[in-house]
Symmetry: C2
Subunit: 356 residues, 2 copies
């Protein structure tokens, strides 16, 4: 998915003509360019409001008489298989939404769950998923307070889809934003990339490695609290889900109008994940994670934030992986271990469908 | 679905043995007893918290320094067909969630949207649904502020499923609750019953009547404001969706430990809906509405509330349809026009699948 830098025509994204996709394709759900197109061309104009248009992972709304703002986020989970090494759809549904609140600096307050069940789903499977959601809620110290269940006919769904929405409180003066990254800022990832996507794919493809690759699905609220407690003027944090680190960096680069440069040798990768990516022809930059984030911080605070992350179990492998530059705004480059730079393109459509 | 009163063994609900349903059936999504069973036996114990266990249409959470509480609700919409007389899945998704906030006395603040799209969905269909959602948001004076889109393979979904979650603010001292109905309270419905369900079914079955039966899909927040502005000590309001008036009344009767008696002749019904119900063998008490509510109010306030409803376009056909009694707690009875009472049983499972 990355390609050698041969000229300006290979800039981060190329617009897709409307007529090329008269129908929804799997790629529209892959966190890449097709989805961006859908969001920017149809969704944002239709609902026409500043909060949605900001395209943060969570909306924030002012509250009367309060020194907090309300953070509000939603995600649906359609992962297949439902159960995989290191997690299941229930855990994912809790972690993913908790993480969308946490990376905005919000303290998760409560979750909702909307279940869409396929007729014929064994009640036992449902119970197993719900138990797992319950455990994940307790782990993340968040309550699931409201829900809804719908059933669709056999063949009109796929076992279980789960929507979780979440509300949280964020300090009024907190200004994390994807539009706030400045040239010179350092990019810090909280751990190894690609574990979740490769765990799912290994199950689907029946791949076996020396050790089982487990999803990194985890609630990041403890880690983000650690980071914010440093008092460092963190610009933005984002969890790295569909489309992986690459998709998030493209969003940052575009919204903040900066260039980003990654150091290939600095990117933390598990040996097995690297091997699996080589076998499967995947670039780990595009593979989904469910318990990792990237933070952009001013250079002078980078070591403090890195230390804070490393003190948390979910940040043990945190690393500074790159920086923002004034050159080539909106473009993401990768500097390889042997020198030389290549453009990291934005994933266009499907890489790993139904990963979350 | 209603049956003659022949003895106490026909009480409102009969427990369903666990082993009878090892799998999810369409009935588990129908707003009746199977769904209740799922909620009480699995969901509430798993997530074990008072707010969820209250089973109101919306959760409420306290907010720091505020004289408001946060109302939070979620619903998924899987209606088929997507477009029907009087509405579509997009309108429904906005109205339904706005209504769940409104009946709790909350002022809707913002909505989220989680789309699950089936591969192959024409982009044009998606645009039409989204435009309709946008209009419905403007009508209901609520902003859609955050969203998520997932795509599933052809045959693993059904065109579009939409989850909307909503947040709103409710005065701290507002105490609407399904557990607060007292003997002597009057039951007021805001208009004719069954329009939405019969509109959907007419399209599905290709039924034609003199006039097209249109869904009553509408945002009830204006109507609920009118009602609350009377200052009457309203016990509870509920919108009448899946399972119709019957399901809501069973919830009230059980939670408040009162009996309820309906006057058959007082129940507002459109002539065409009555005719359709007769042809189809349906009881309008069980048919879904998407722009109607029931309120329980002390007898001395009933006329005030009724007047307030009737002054609003969505309450023009409001009527007092029954009352709460000390006799036969948890049971719902219907007094027929010719005298005589019958038990209104709780719908057990499927009546009209995928009505919302």
């Amino acid at each position: 998915m990355s390609q050698p830098l041969t000229g300006p025509e290979l800039a981060g994204s190329c617009p897709i003509p409307k007529s090329r996709y008269p129908e929804i394709t799997m790629g529209h759900g892959a966190g890449g360019q097709l989805m961006e197109d859908l969001i920017h061309r149809i969704i944002v104009p239709t609902f026409d409001n500043d909060i949605l248009a900001a395209l943060e992972d969570q909306a924030t709304l002012s509250l009367p008489q309060s020194d907090s703002r309300l953070a509000f986020t939603t995600d649906s989970y359609v992962v297949q298989p439902l159960f995989f090494p290191g997690g299941d759809i229930g855990k994912l549904a809790v972690h993913g939404t908790v993480n969308d609140l946490a990376v905005g600096g919000a303290r998760p307050l409560a979750l909702s769950a909307g279940l869409i069940l396929e007729e014929g789903l064994p009640i036992e499977t449902l119970e197993r998923v719900l138990r797992s959601m319950g455990e994940a809620c307790r782990d993340a110290d968040v309550r699931l307070v409201t829900g809804d269940t719908k059933v669709v006919e056999r063949g009109k769904g796929d076992q279980i889809f789960i929507n979780t929405s979440g509300v949280g409180l964020v300090a009024k003066d907190r200004t994390l934003s994807i539009a706030s990254v400045r040239s010179g800022d350092k990019l810090i990832v909280s751990g190894t990339l690609g574990d979740h996507g490769i765990a799912i794919l290994s199950v689907r493809e029946g791949l076996e490695f020396e050790t089982t690759i487990e999803s990194d699905s985890a609630p990041l609220s403890g880690l983000t609290e650690k980071v914010l407690a440093t008092g460092a003027p963190v610009r933005v944090m984002r969890d790295l889900t569909r489309g992986g680190l690459s998709s998030v960096l493209h969003e940052l680069a575009r919204s903040s109008q900066v260039g980003l440069v990654l150091e290939e040798s600095a990117i933390p990768l598990k040996r097995e994940v690297r091997a699996a990516c080589e076998i499967l022809g995947l670039d780990p930059l595009y593979v989904a994670n469910e318990g990792k984030l990237v933070a952009a911080v001013p250079a002078e605070s980078a070591e403090d934030v890195l230390d804070a992350m490393r003190q948390h179990p979910l940040g043990a492998d945190a690393a500074i992986v790159g920086e923002a530059v004034a050159d080539h705004p909106t473009m993401v480059l990768m500097r390889s271990a042997v020198g030389g730079e290549r453009v990291v393109t934005m994933i266009s459509g499907e890489q790993l469908p139904r990963i979350c």
